[in-house]
Symmetry: C2
Subunit: 389 residues, 2 copies
């Protein structure tokens, strides 16, 4: 049965606070504006939420000025929805228009800034992409000589990393939906079921439990362990001796959970059982270490020191967890390279993994929120021993 | 019940043919290689299929040389899956690595081309994006003085527009799943059901009918018509007098259907009924016009001349349909600006829309494949009169 859901959307004060916080940081960095192009950033400051971003046809632009409300420059098809937001200045064009897909509207908006040699923050750092045609970007830059465009990735990611109470409520809700879905897995799946039917069953169950969608579902099953953690499902039926892993990113009101669970079909082999135990204890070490003031690097090391009992190679994943929110994976990264200091109200995954046996890999994952006194689980903690189906 | 599904994946010959066709066009345009960064392009030439692209953390690169197999430069987490493809040269790094996320591997690969002043095609045109950090792109370009980087958008989109028999088989299958799902709608939904439950019911039914996923589902309901066609669902219950529209992009084996259906809750108002009739006939005009040799512009005009009976403004959508395949929307566009000539085996949507009444909009959509003698429907044709629930 669906869990009781929070209210959809946010109060206007949420967007005012986000914008003021951005503008404070912009002032500190001498930025006269921010130009944002990607779905999560446009949504973060406007509340504009639509799956229509899946169509690559049209670019979308949001300008955050040094003071005042953001300005949207968007295709006309989005105007009715954007008018429901707190924004007032919404400029549209009839898109697609290959000859001028918003570029002249953007140029008009930014030309006064360019004329005075202003600084416009744009996101061009790690974990970003340019969500418009590169050719149009080059034309826009050429239209605006004099405009400095420093990287604002850290500014925006720094804001988004720390969640508001309303965001945490949504994240807790989708994590609870994920947990109740995984709890039903032993009743849904059985030996002989093709993996693609396992996936369909999981998605249907998540919807029944109140998820809006399950955009991300990957997993594997293999005798004595699995080899891959990002593949789509095959038609291979589950067999006795398989270790099965399902990893889901389900959504509610535009926020993700992201965690996985392992199951044994029949009795698990000793090596897989041992890998499970090591990863369970690595997660415990992560839960104990995840406090305000700790670094992501420290959190990584706390988990890695347990994983090293079985695998000191570091694995294929490249990190042992990450931020979570409007995207399946957000900043920061629990990795040796990331010295981000954990703060209260960050929502994170703990995702220890290890390689073992003949090319086998195992992953574990939990979702947490950082509270003043340490980690609070948003996902229902995995069983200490591998569940047997 | 699920429909009988085709075989998943493609024979190796499919990828060989795609690569040879690309290399033939590259030779005609004096291109020494293609650098591809986006999910559909990487998948098109390699077969690499994973939902993991939803994580923005890591960039992925595929190089298509002037002859021989493509070369993958990808994060280590994708190596096991990419090794199942037909590619042989797979270069990986432990990502994420903010200091060097594949850039030195790419530079090593491309430096010999740069040294001889070669031409590397990259996609920077309409309907593309740069799926890597802009800062890293700028560093890569600076690493490779002498390398010319012309736009290869038309080359790649031109190849992808015309589908192979195996692709059409997948598209026909997911369109059949979409049709059987819509056919069940009158049994699933009823007056008083909140729109978000209508969406959940549709998704669950599509999965039951054999869809792998329903990544895209938008829609609206409103008394005497709806105002928006891209919004997420509200909790508002369906009411007598509502016109309901559901527009879905469901997937099977990585290929999309994309069509919508309208329903009246109780008796529809006269204006909505008339709008439905006009759009039904506009689609008929599109079906009649969609033959090899026709242009997208001609197809647009054929539909627009019917729509003009009720709305001569052109609407908010910007076009009256588009290509369909690995993405919800692909090139070409049925619009006055697009002179693409229709060819056999193109898979397209016909998507006439109109504005009417007080800010109301209505959309209709069908999916077709162009055959030698004209349009073949992949979706089951909508009813000529609005279905009443």
């Amino acid at each position: 049965m669906p869990l009781n859901a929070p209210v959809r959307g946010f109060d206007q004060s949420e967007f005012e606070t986000r914008t003021l916080n951005a503008q404070k940081r912009m002032a500190e960095q001498n930025l006269d504006g921010l130009l944002l192009l990607s779905e999560p950033e446009v949504r973060y400051f406007s509340g504009f939420q639509t799956l229509f971003w899946q169509s690559p046809t049209r670019p979308w632009f949001l300008f955050v000025p040094a003071s005042g409300k953001p300005i949207a420059i968007i295709p006309e098809i989005g105007a009715a929805l954007m008018r429901q937001s707190w924004l007032e200045d919404i400029r549209t064009w009839s898109a697609p228009a290959p000859e001028d897909d918003g570029i002249s509207l953007l140029t008009d908006l930014l030309a006064p800034l360019a004329a005075k040699g202003a600084r416009l923050g744009v996101m061009k750092g790690h974990e970003t992409l340019l969500r418009m045609p590169l050719g149009d970007w080059e034309r826009l830059v050429a239209n605006l000589p004099g405009l400095e465009m420093p990287d604002a990735t850290a500014l925006v990611q720094g804001l988004r990393m720390v969640k508001s109470p309303a965001e945490i409520e949504k994240l807790a809700h989708i994590c609870a939906i994920g947990s109740s879905t995984f709890a039903r897995i032993p009743e849904i799946i059985s030996e002989g079921m093709p993996l693609e039917e396992v996936f369909r069953g999981f998605r249907r169950e998540a919807l029944l439990n109140g998820a809006d969608d399950v955009p991300y579902l990957v997993g594997s099953a293999g005798l004595g362990g699995y080899e891959d953690v990002i593949a789509p499902p095959s038609r291979r039926p589950l067999q006795k001796g398989d270790i099965l892993m399902l990893d889901t990113g389900a959504t509610w009101d535009g926020y993700f959970c992201d965690f996985d669970r392992n199951y044994a079909i029949g009795t698990p082999d000793d090596e897989s059982r041992r890998a499970y135990d090591v990863l369970f204890r690595a997660t415990e070490a992560g839960l104990a270490a995840a406090k305000p003031g700790q670094t992501c690097r420290g959190l990584f090391q706390a988990m890695q020191s347990v994983i090293a009992e079985m695998d000191d190679q570091g694995g294929d994943i490249g990190r042992l967890g990450h931020g979570l929110g409007m995207q399946l994976t957000e900043q920061p990264s629990h990795a040796a390279f990331d010295n981000t200091v954990l703060q209260e109200n960050m929502v994170l995954t703990l995702e220890p993994s290890l390689g073992y046996g003949e090319k086998r890999i195992m992953v574990h994952e939990e979702n947490i929120v950082i509270r003043a006194d340490g980690a609070e689980l948003l996902s229902t903690r995995a069983a200490p021993e591998m569940p047997i189906i």
